[in-house]
């Protein structure tokens, strides 16, 4: 970081003799000493009135007079000649409070990021300079999601302090734009760097009738800009901001409708929001081995979904040649992809699918389990509406074929902030889970927890970080769950032991002693049950 960096305050002006002197005086009265002030007269046509005001300060400011190029052209002219390490913009009708530069440089130094830009709160003044309002933003709003500075329309260009190197990397201001050249450039900058809110009121922004932001051309530019700003946000970015694309678009529509005049952008956001569910590509990951029948049954349940915008990724974790039935399916339905997983544990196969997934949402299925026809549509709608990045549902148990009605497990009642409850009570069935791809980017993987209970440990990992949406509607039929045979008790005991080992080894989980003790008791009960069952059937108890 540079010690005592130089700050250039740029004052572009066009026919602005009425307020220019006050603006220049406010720049000259800054308590920060390493300053450069550039006034750009952008081809004023007021008979030399603007020039006459500027002329009074020529010994203390750099003055540029040019043909009219608009605000963007005036700013570009100044930027090309500035010697400062930071750029600050002062409209000819606004005022910088005397400590503005000093406070911003101090705040920037505290941030410790040379590429950070800083913006502040501001007063609104009328034509006479009287304060009529104060725009003081909720700082916690930005700490929660820094991106909201721009998308929430919170950045007042004249409150900014931007490092010159950032301006040079993304500039110049687009001179084809007459009204929104500033937000257009901030939007480009935000693809890489951030605008940080300094919770202090450091400028006075003048609101007066001569401003041109209500002109038809200005509205057209603004509409185009906001549509562009919404469009360039990735699925992940939208989820980071609002939990889902739909929520993001609904919130944007609300903001634009409430606080701006950009009704075309509002219409665009609403229309996109109404299609957010059907536009979402969902990837379903289905690992399968050499036994092809159950896998085909599961695959058909995916391809018959009411939500058709999906891809089925079948991960072949078997050792034999791919069956002709699977090959035919890939030819008949282009939504099916088969990838080779090699003989591997199910978690590794799921991760292969997770990495290959192109969808915004990813669901999992085990060979033999089936989705109800509206499963993806229901779950996706609930996630998009609620802004959740992870969900699971209740399910039917399909093992007992002799019953007309399948028993239901109401696991979907389990939801919300379920950590640490989940440590000794994880009812989540993997074949009912749907994740946003954001989780994969944030490091979610089944193989993070190698071992016999990797899915349980995965859901614990998820619950620690995210709020889980539980949907109490049976949307899958699960056959892959074991029956109550001693062999499966043995497996459960093994899983429990693995979970216990992992929980004891984790410095956070281990703090929840009562949870761990409850699991230990459960393990002891299972061992006892297994022993009784084996004794009744005349066999020796299985070793714990």
């Amino acid at each position: 970081m540079i010690n005592n960096p130089r700050v250039t305050i740029v004052i572009p002006v066009y026919n602005g003799a009425n307020y220019l002197a006050a603006a220049i005086e406010s720049a000259l009265s800054q308590t920060y000493d390493n300053l450069e002030i550039i006034v750009v007269n952008d081809g004023s046509t007021d008979g030399g009135a603007t020039e006459a005001v500027a002329a009074r300060y020529l010994s203390r400011v750099k003055y540029i007079a040019q043909e009219n190029r608009g605000v963007a052209g005036a700013l570009n002219a100044a930027v090309s000649q500035m010697s400062g390490d930071f750029f600050a913009w002062l409209s000819h009708d606004d005022i910088h409070l005397s400590h503005k530069t000093e406070r911003q440089i101090a705040y920037h130094a505290k941030l410790g990021n040379p590429n950070a830009s800083v913006f502040t709160d501001y007063y609104i003044i009328d034509g006479t300079g009287k304060i009529i309002d104060e725009m003081k933003w909720d700082h916690a709003y930005f700490v929660r999601c820094p991106r909201l500075s721009l998308l929430g329309g919170r950045i007042n260009g004249c409150s900014l302090l931007v490092p010159r190197r950032v301006l040079h990397e993304f500039g110049p201001f687009d001179e084809r734009l007459r009204f929104v050249q500033d937000y257009d450039l901030w939007n480009k900058i935000q693809t890489k760097y951030e605008f940080f809110h300094q919770p202090e009121t450091l400028i006075k922004y003048r609101s007066h009738p001569e401003q041109g932001s209500l002109r038809e051309e200005a509205i057209r530019e603004g509409d185009d800009l906001w549509i562009r700003m919404m469009n360039c946000r990735s699925v992940c970015e939208r989820a980071q901001i609002s939990g889902s694309s739909k929520n993001f678009l609904v919130e944007m529509a609300h903001f634009l409708d409430e606080y701006t005049v950009y009704k075309r952008a509002v219409g665009f956001a609403r229309e996109q929001a109404s299609r957010a569910v059907s536009d979402s590509l969902v990837s379903v990951v289905l690992p399968f081995d050499d036994e092809i029948g159950p896998a085909l049954k599961s695959a058909y349940s995916v391809l018959c979904q009411t939500h058709t915008n999906l891809e089925l990724i079948m991960v072949h974790a078997g050792s034999t040649e791919l069956s002709s039935a699977v090959r035919t399916m890939t030819r008949v339905d282009e939504r099916v992809t088969v990838i080779a997983g090699g003989p591997s544990v199910i978690g590794a196969a799921r991760d292969r699918g997770l990495h290959a997934a192109r969808g915004s949402y990813i669901a999992f299925l085990c060979a033999g389990d089936v989705f109800m026809p509206h499963k993806i549509e229901r779950q996706l709608t609930a996630m998009q509406d609620g802004g959740y990045v992870v969900s699971h549902t209740s399910y039917h148990v399909g093992a007992s074929r002799d019953r007309l009605t399948l028993p239901t497990v109401h696991s979907g009642e389990f939801g919300g902030k379920v950590y640490p409850t989940i440590l000794d009570e994880c009812p989540i069935a993997t074949a009912t889970v749907m994740l946003h791809r954001l989780l994969a980017a944030e490091g979610f993987a089944f193989t993070r927890h190698f071992g016999p209970a990797e899915d349980i440990l995965s859901w614990i990992w998820v619950a620690q970080r995210y709020e889980i949406l539980g949907i109490d509607e049976p949307l899958a039929v699960i056959e892959s769950l074991g029956t109550n045979s001693p062999g499966n008790w043995k497996r459960s005991v093994k899983q429990l032991e693995h979970v216990l080992k992992q929980l004891r080894a984790d410095p956070v989980h281990v703090q929840y002693r009562s949870k761990i003790e409850a699991l230990e008791q459960l393990r002891a009960q299972l061992v006892e049950l297994g022993a009784n069952d084996r004794a009744e059937s005349g066999a020796a108890a299985f070793p714990a």
């Binding site: 990021n113 930005f142 700490v143 999601c145 940080f196 990735s234 992940c236 290959a356 192109r358 994969a440």
Partner: protein, 128 residues
Amino acid sequence: MNFRATSRRLALSIPRVRRFYAYAADLRARVESLEAELAQRKADRAELGRRSGQPADQDREDLELQLYMLRSDYQYVVRLLDQSRSDLSEARAELETLRRENREVADQSNGSAGHGGFSGKRSAGQQS
């Protein structure tokens, strides 16, 4: 589409993605630890406020600032990571397509060889 270029791109992206994952995990851990610390400080401050009516301390503000910076970095890295994952996945799909095409060409050429197509032999009708 070029097999060599795709392979090289794939080879280059895998370590990049891994590096991003490691960096993202580190940032996430720091964000989480700062969140916990901040929550603790807030609780301490509330307690202190109850006892003495003291205003917010500088320490807490500094901590909040750190959290602000880290969260911004973290969210940026996650977005970059998601982009890298997409690139990697596309490169893998391209590679798979190239492999399949390569196999098909090899199969065809093997098949044709049996009929003299690429064997260099001329059939009777081709004799000049």
